[in-house]
């Protein structure tokens, strides 16, 4: 036991004192936050600039009120000059684009022959805003011509807002689903990233001991199993340390960034929606904000966090044992590729299933099955957890994970014990199967 502690300590410090570890630990969150802030800042700058659009309305159907400036678009009437001159004015002037509404015999013909000219392809946001504006007016006129009182129609318009309640009577919100999905996906994704990065670290560390030939000295002092476990645990501790540092730095930086750029999330999140919808959303958001907060507080944060740690450790231990076995089987990193595929595939599968299936149906058959299979359960179960999973499913999935982990460590230890002393020949799957029987 004492020796295991020594090995863990060495592995931990070997990782932590490494220069790349320091650089990665400090730079990564800076990069993430920096990029986030940059994107937020740019999209804000983008939105702030008002685009001037010149227009000629030959149909005479649109009224002045339609061309009132919005937050992002300012219309300029160019009807007093010829259309050719107007076009060239726009092309050479300080305009974003030129809107031409022709005169046609019917509204529907007008609707399909409106033209928009611009120097560069216009942004979707601008086009949809212009379309919305023209569409609203044409619709209105059409309704009037058909003898429908559009005032009365406007007055009788209603926006239903369905309140979602659970049977226990708690109010829910549609947006909370998005929040839960975000929590689940990022937790699952984090686990996958950690497994890939730190699993590979374990593998490289095993290969390093093989290539530097220290391995025989070490295992004449300790059991290969102790060495392998020490390596896995030591690396995990280094990873946990890195994650905690990241967490702290990210927290500090995002507070700073929020204060500096005032990045308000609603403007980024709804930036692509036409104006009318944004207004609707704003109203909904304001009334729902409290429900969301209440619901967030009601989320079983502690159990989710605990489950995260457990699945995180379970998944990491399971995979890092595999990585250690692969490292022991080969002489150098280039030879690892043939064995990497079976390791990476279930991880990627887990994430894909999360995105494709859990998001739509957290408790569907596929999501449930893959949250039981040990190779994908740490990822898929984490994505399901915020939606509430029956405790017996968690228990079964954890038991399966634990059982597979023990089996995998047994397998890895066998391969490791033989592999670390094998040099030269690149082993095949058959060779490794044979090692199991030595």
């Amino acid at each position: 036991m004492n020796k295991l502690k020594l090995i863990i300590k060495r592995e931990f410090f070997a990782k932590v004192r490494n220069k790349t570890f320091l650089v990665m630990t400090i730079l990564s969150p800076l990069l993430v936050v920096g990029l986030g802030a940059l994107v937020g800042y740019l999209s804000k700058v983008n939105q702030d600039s008002i685009k001037i659009i010149g227009y000629v309305d030959d149909s005479q159907l649109l009224i002045t009120k339609d061309f009132d400036s919005s937050k992002t678009i300012e219309y300029k009437d160019l009807s007093n000059v010829d259309i050719v001159i107007a076009k060239s004015q726009v092309e050479h002037g300080d305009f974003y684009g030129f809107l031409y509404v022709p005169k046609k015999d019917s509204i529907s013909n007008i609707a399909t022959s409106i033209e928009f000219y611009s120097k560069e392809p216009p942004s979707l946001q601008v086009i949809s805003e212009v379309e919305g504006m023209v569409g609203y007016r044409l619709n209105y006129i059409l309704l009037e011509r058909n003898g429908i009182d559009s005032e009365a129609l406007d007055a009788s318009k209603i926006n239903p807002n369905i309140k979602i309640l659970s049977f226990s009577g708690e109010k829910s919100s549609k947006l909370i689903r998005g929040v839960k999905i975000a929590i689940g996906l990022s937790a699952g994704y984090l686990i996958m990233m950690f497994i890939i990065i730190y699993g590979a670290m374990v593998m490289r560390s095993v290969i390093e001991e093989k290539t530097s030939r220290i391995i025989e000295v070490i295992i004449s002092s300790v059991k290969p199993f102790q060495l392998m476990m020490g390596k896995i645990i030591g690396t995990a501790l280094a990873g946990l340390l890195q994650f905690s540092i990241w967490g702290v730095i990210l927290l500090i930086l995002s507070i700073v960034a929020t204060a500096m750029f005032g990045a308000d999330t609603t403007s980024i999140g709804t930036g692509n929606l036409p104006m009318q919808e944004v207004e609707v959303l704003d109203v909904v958001a304001k009334t729902e904000m409290q429900i969301i907060i209440e619901e967030l507080i009601r989320l079983p944060v502690l159990p989710i966090f605990l489950a995260f740690i457990v699945y995180f450790l379970g998944g990491y231990l399971l995979y890092s044992a595999l990585y250690a076995a692969i490292g022991a089987a080969v002489d150098n990193e280039t030879d690892t590729q043939q064995f990497m595929l079976p390791v990476i595939i279930p991880l990627i599968l887990g994430v894909y299933i999360g995105f494709a299936s859990v998001v739509n149906e957290p408790h569907g058959t596929i999501a449930t099955i893959f949250s039981m299979i040990p190779f994908t359960s740490p990822i898929v179960m984490m994505m399901r957890l915020p939606f509430g999973v029956p405790w017996w499913q968690i228990v079964i999935s954890l038991l399966l994970l634990l059982g597979t982990f023990i089996l995998m460590v047994w397998f890895a230890a066998k391969v490791y014990r033989i592999g670390i002393l094998m040099y030269g020949k690149k082993p095949t799957y058959r060779d490794i199967y044979k090692w199991l029987k030595y």
Partner: protein, 311 residues
């Protein structure tokens, strides 16, 4: 003299390949025991079994009269042929780590390391990383790490490879000193001249079998060819050669002018022994040199393996 290590009837198979086929060795206490044999003879497998790195399929290993237990690794120091250290780790830190893995306390390890680093004059390297050292320098560190915990049994696999002659001698002297201090040394090598210099006992492995073992001097006697080198002067009997050839085989002769002096290689015939030859020679002249041609370890090595191949 009692045996420190007895490995009996060891069998080790890797799949279809037999690495050790019912091998037995007995290593007497406080001796240097040479484990010899061509590549692939099974030496490394046996050493790994003694170090409990691998487990034999059958057979037993006794250390000090008791079956080997996991705790015994602290009584064994092993320097493998393929040696290495963590390249990115500092020398002193690494030596401390390896010593602690052998069960030493940190305090104890530090004290002893300090002693050895002074002895081998490498104190300045303590804070250096291994990758900054030359191969020979790293070997010195490796040697210290092997002997630091004062093991009863020391196992060296090709200890001199990578050393320049001066450092090889230094290490050889240290090994002899350790033996004198009571340590038992198993010494695996292909380099026969170091076997002559160091080993009291040897075992010769070939094709997974122990084909020859025992005290080196006994083995040499067994392999002696009964050939004597003789130099004579003042030869009285001019017909010496003719008469000699009736009772002995003369392999080569070099007769000086006037048949006064000669140097010969003579082989004994079945019934005769060395004393017969010397008596006969003494009667006919003065003997300047008389010596038995004893095969060196290298010749024994080649001869034994050739014989084994014929079987």
């Amino acid at each position: 003299m009692s045996n420190l290590l007895v490995a009996e009837n060891i069998v080790k198979k890797y799949g279809d390949f037999t690495a050790l086929n019912d091998v037995t060795i007995k290593v007497p206490e406080a001796s240097i025991f040479g484990l010899l044999g061509p590549n692939g003879a099974g030496k490394t497998s046996l050493i790994r079994i003694i170090n409990q790195i691998i487990i034999p399929d059958s057979g037993s290993v006794m250390l000090d009269g008791k079956p080997l237990t996991p705790n015994d690794i602290q009584h064994i120091g092993y320097m493998p042929e393929e040696r290495g250290l963590y390249k990115g780790m500092k020398v002193g830190e690494q030596a401390l780590y390896l010593a602690q893995l052998k069960g030493m306390t940190r305090y104890d390890a530090k004290k002893k390391l300090s002693f050895w680093f002074d002895k081998l004059e490498i104190r300045d390297w303590w804070g250096k990383k291994v990758q900054e050292l030359s191969k020979g320098m790293a070997q010195k560190v490796q040697f210290i790490v092997t002997v630091l915990h004062q093991p009863k049994l020391l196992i060296f696999d090709e200890p001199f490879s990578g050393f320049d002659p001066i450092n090889a001698n230094l290490i050889k002297d240290e090994i002899l000193k350790l033996r004198d201090a009571g340590a038992t040394v198993i010494f695996s090598t292909h380099r026969m001249e170091s076997v002559e210099e160091l080993c009291e006992y040897i075992a010769l492995f070939d094709k997974s079998n122990n084909i020859l073992d025992g005290k080196l001097s006994d083995i040499k006697r067994k392999f002696k060819s009964n050939i004597f080198e003789v130099e004579m002067y003042d030869i009285k009997n001019k017909l010496l050669l003719n008469e000699l050839s009736e009772n002995f085989d003369i392999l080569s002769s070099n007769i000086g002018p006037g048949n006064n002096d000669a140097s010969l290689q003579v082989k004994l015939k079945d019934a005769k022994d060395s004393n017969d030859l010397i008596q006969y020679l003494a009667m006919h002249g003065s003997i300047a040199k008389y010596s038995e041609m004893i095969p060196d370890a290298n010749e024994i090595f080649i001869k034994a393996i050739e014989q084994n191949a014929k079987k």
